[in-house]
Symmetry: C2
Subunit: 573 residues, 2 copies
């Protein structure tokens, strides 16, 4: 295993051995450790002193089911703190098979030119890029597949990243040439600041991942795969309806934030539900189920076609559907799908873009419910107009531009699809995660709403602190393995499947981790991230939800009522 | 003395006795004490939980020379911390003569309507305002003078405040109907958020300020006045050339930030110097010297006319001339004067607007040196276009919109007219003041460049920490008296004049303060402000200059080289 360090100022790279302290790390644990060690927390996130780090997880590149996730790390230009953004697609597995532990990208080119980076068994090539500048991600990927063949992996930025908009993401090509995103925290702007349009990875001739005890590994992988396919969420719900199954569930639970978090349910929710989307996909001969990377057995992604049967989008997630749908009072799935397509193409986080649209509606740029207006706004981002520059920098930025105070963000990052007053556990995660508001950092919705890993009443405070804390620790560990976070649904209920993960890691590396060691890995990662954030100037005061959440939300008429002390105690581990 | 508390939600007010703890406070000490006690530091600065406080100083309303300054306080929407913004004009003296210790404005109207507030001997009147909405400050003041007579005092917001732009200021009518500004920190946006277009103050029949020992007061005031008129800076330099005398001085010292802080001197500096402006004013029959309030003996303001002898602007300050001039590479005084006029009229801080223009040039919106382009940009702010919404939110906001990293701000507020690498004492003030980058919070330029209060080499670190610390303490005290900060030039060199201030306060209130008590008042104010900022989430990490100041600046090729520990030690008092 090796680390590639690319210097964009000198347009050169070095190959480095993996230091002992990082040998046992992967994915998020590794990107966060590298960023925390090497990046000045007070630097400008889009300046020469930030670094952009790509790392596959500990199990990535093996046959472990659902192990192909990629971690991307840097100081976030959106939150001002550390960021790990996690994506599917084919890049991570190819990096792992090339025995690349991490790629660290430093500096900024001296000339005002853009570059591409190519990674293969011979190392790194940096070349000036002109042809694909200003192009959307679909065109970039299409052209690179033409050039390199469909097996090439691509990580790219769209126009939003080129503009260094702080809601810009990094897009990762999936096995079919569609787009998965390292979505949150503006890492596309960091890639844009380093003047990298795209990175291609060719694993032809790669040595592959070494497994110390192949037989033991295969046995554990089998147990793990069986666990995933037999759990009702990962084996039935997600494969059938994708994450959009949550629209009706959250609506019934009163936790579907509607009209910029004004109410917790919406009478039109069924029009944008997973069931409705499923029927539409089937009728239009799309794919109701689809994997974002090779080896995925959950296959929560799907391919959504338009009325004429032409591809519109893939990986059409609940949070996106919620945000452009209930959040904006738009009940037309085709317009929402089009918005998702544009987000993927211009390379902007669809959650941030959706909440930004809600705030733009709040500020009167367009009225609530205006689907065509929403598409127009995304076009402004693509063109980089002044309105686009406002919107492309996210919800908080847009709110400030328009004098709006009802802005649902934490640490500058938009609160996603679960009202924290009606799903209190995830509210604590929004408040306290190192990442800025992020449901995936400690998905208490599982236990609050889906009754996975037990049940804690979502409307009550009791048990939520411990729930959010434990999920944040577990998530940091899972994000370090390269496993899809959705495996958590299974392992929260299935001790054998959880043990199988540890067995796979032990078999691969010839070590003997225990469950406690995995917990420690999670705690280590969180501590590393919190120390970075503290040094960047983030405090307990930044672990707070906006004041308007102290107001009641229908239908349960609950408020965000945790005290500061209760919130802060999430960090006691 | 009394406090008026206005509730904009209920459109009502109460008259309150002055609590004992605030009885000995005035000006900045009082606004900061009130904001710190009553405002939740984590609230949204433009939301219902912020409060806007107006307070005259301890000596305001008396015949003490230069004692007519107004303090305006709130949580700043620009810095996220506490803010006291200080202005001349006639409002403060009228408040004092009406025996109003402070006006505290709370809440936000329930209806989407604008209001005016009228203050006189009968109390407060709140009325809906429609006629003057969307109008600039000159028109507002003109119409109110037509209605109430020229003796009316006015505090008003322009279009920028109505848009709740975070660089918006509060304009205060001066004796001639021209405009002085509580400029920095976006307090105009706070006034706009409370839907107050203007406040008028009529002191007809006011009881006036009680002086316990009139004879002793008069004697001290005479000593103080004599000190001011005999000191070379307050008696000669400022009355003749105004603050613009600094253009040539800073240029020669290599501390005139040129082209967005790229160099410390400019070959065209003389074209915008105080001497050139003086000659122009005299030739065009303007006023080379003019007081911003009754009783000012320094008279550093002036009235600048155009080629046809028509009024363009008054209170045309060095920092404005620097910012739109050397900072933007614009050497045409008439264009700079026009920019100042527009800033006053639309109600935007001219320092923030000028540095924003530099950053806009950095981001390629217009080229450096484009004077007509600069006027066009200010017009965008007036119109509230999307570009205007970007610019009106200041330099840091504009930089983020355009992907610019060379942004000279501290705590989100623009660094003014003295390069911190060449005038190191004021650099420490920029970094550590509670206010965000602000030269007036501890004007080390006095001792570094003007050799007032001794001399400390501006290019060396030695002595600067103590200098900035002591000046910040002294400034907090002066800002609490209602005295113009420029009296500091005199009292730093003239112990008798300093004692005369204490004597005036003692004679007025019948107390026996010592010099130590005055120092304690300054320390109390700074501590109060720092505690608020800490509770708002500001840390030592926010006491840092942007990383580009670590690079050398010509002509002295010095860098910003204080360690974090040295910077933090400014707070040791």
């Amino acid at each position: 295993m090796k680390i590639y360090r690319i210097n964009m100022e000198t347009l050169s790279y070095t190959e480095e051995a993996v230091p002992q302290e990082w040998a046992g790390l992967g994915g998020r644990a590794l990107t966060s450790a590298i960023v925390a060690k090497e990046v000045d927390p007070t630097c400008h996130a889009l300046g020469k002193n930030n670094k952009l780090v790509f790392a596959p997880g500990l199990l990535t590149g093996t046959t472990a089911p659902n192990s192909g996730r990629l971690s991307v790390g840097a100081k976030s230009p959106l939150t001002g703190g550390i960021k790990e953004s996690n994506a599917g697609g084919t890049a991570s597995q190819k990096l792992a098979k090339l025995n690349i532990k991490a790629i660290i990208i430093e500096g900024i080119p001296q000339e005002d030119k853009y570059y591409s980076i190519h990674v293969d068994v011979n190392g790194i090539k940096i070349a000036e890029e002109t042809e694909l500048l200003g192009k959307g991600n679909y065109e970039v990927i299409g052209k690179l597949v033409e050039k390199h063949g469909k097996n090439i992996a691509v990580m790219t930025i769209g126009q939003a990243g080129e503009y260094r908009m702080t809601a810009a993401n990094i897009s990762v090509k999936d096995p079919d040439g569609n787009i998965r995103s390292a979505g949150r925290g503006g890492l596309g702007a960091v890639m844009g600041s380093k003047k990298i349009k795209y990175i291609t990875i060719d694993d032809t001739g790669a040595p592959g991942v070494e497994i110390k005890d192949l037989e033991r590994f295969r046995a554990a992988a089998k147990v793990f795969g069986k666990g995933l396919t037999s759990h009702p969420v990962t084996g039935q719900g997600l494969p059938t309806y994708g994450t959009n199954i949550l629209v009706n569930i959250l609506n019934e639970a009163g936790g579907l934030p509607t009209k910029n978090f004004r109410q917790g349910n919406w009478e039109k929710a069924d029009k944008i539900s997973g069931e409705t989307i499923y029927d539409t996909i089937v009728a239009r001969k799309g794919k109701p189920t689809h994997g974002c990377h090779v080896g995925c057995v959950i296959r929560c992604s799907q391919v959504y076609n338009d009325k004429d049967g032409n591809y519109v989008t893939a990986g059409f997630e609940y949070e996106t559907v919620w945000g452009f749908g209930a959040g904006c009072l738009i009940d037309d799935i085709d317009i929402i799908a089009k918005a998702d397509h544009i987000c993927d193409d211009i390379g902007i986080d669809s959650i941030e873009a959706a909440v930004t649209t809600q705030v733009a509606m709040e500020g009167g740029i367009i009225p609530f419910g205006d689907g065509e207006g929403m598409i127009h706004l995304l076009g402004e981002i693509e063109k980089g107009t002044y309105l686009g520059r406002i919107l492309g920098n996210g919800a908080e930025f847009t709110g400030r531009a328009m004098g709006v105070t009802r802005i649902p963000t934490v640490k500058g990052q938009s609160i996603p699809a679960y009202d924290p007053r009606a799903v209190k556990g995830v509210g604590l995660t929004y408040a306290t995660t190192t990442m800025g508001a992020d449901h995936t950092a400690g998905y208490a919705v599982a236990t609050n709403i889906l009754k996975v890993g037990g049940y804690i009443d979502p409307l009550k405070k009791e048990g939520q602190i411990e729930l959010s804390r434990n999920l944040q620790i577990a998530t940091a560990a899972i994000d370090s393995t390269g496993l899809c976070l959705f495996v958590a649904f299974c392992i929260l209920d299935d001790a054998e499947a959880f043990q199988a993960i540890i067995d796979m890691i032990n078999a691969q590396y010839g070590i003997s981790l225990t469950a406690d060691d995995v917990t420690e890995l999670g705690k280590f990662t969180l501590r590393t991230e919190r120390e970075f954030n503290k040094a960047a100037g983030l405090t307990k005061k930044h672990d707070r939800l906006p004041e308007f959440f102290r107001e009641e939300v229908a239908p349960h008429n609950t408020t965000w009522d945790f005290t500061d002390e209760e919130i802060d105690s999430v960090h006691n581990y």
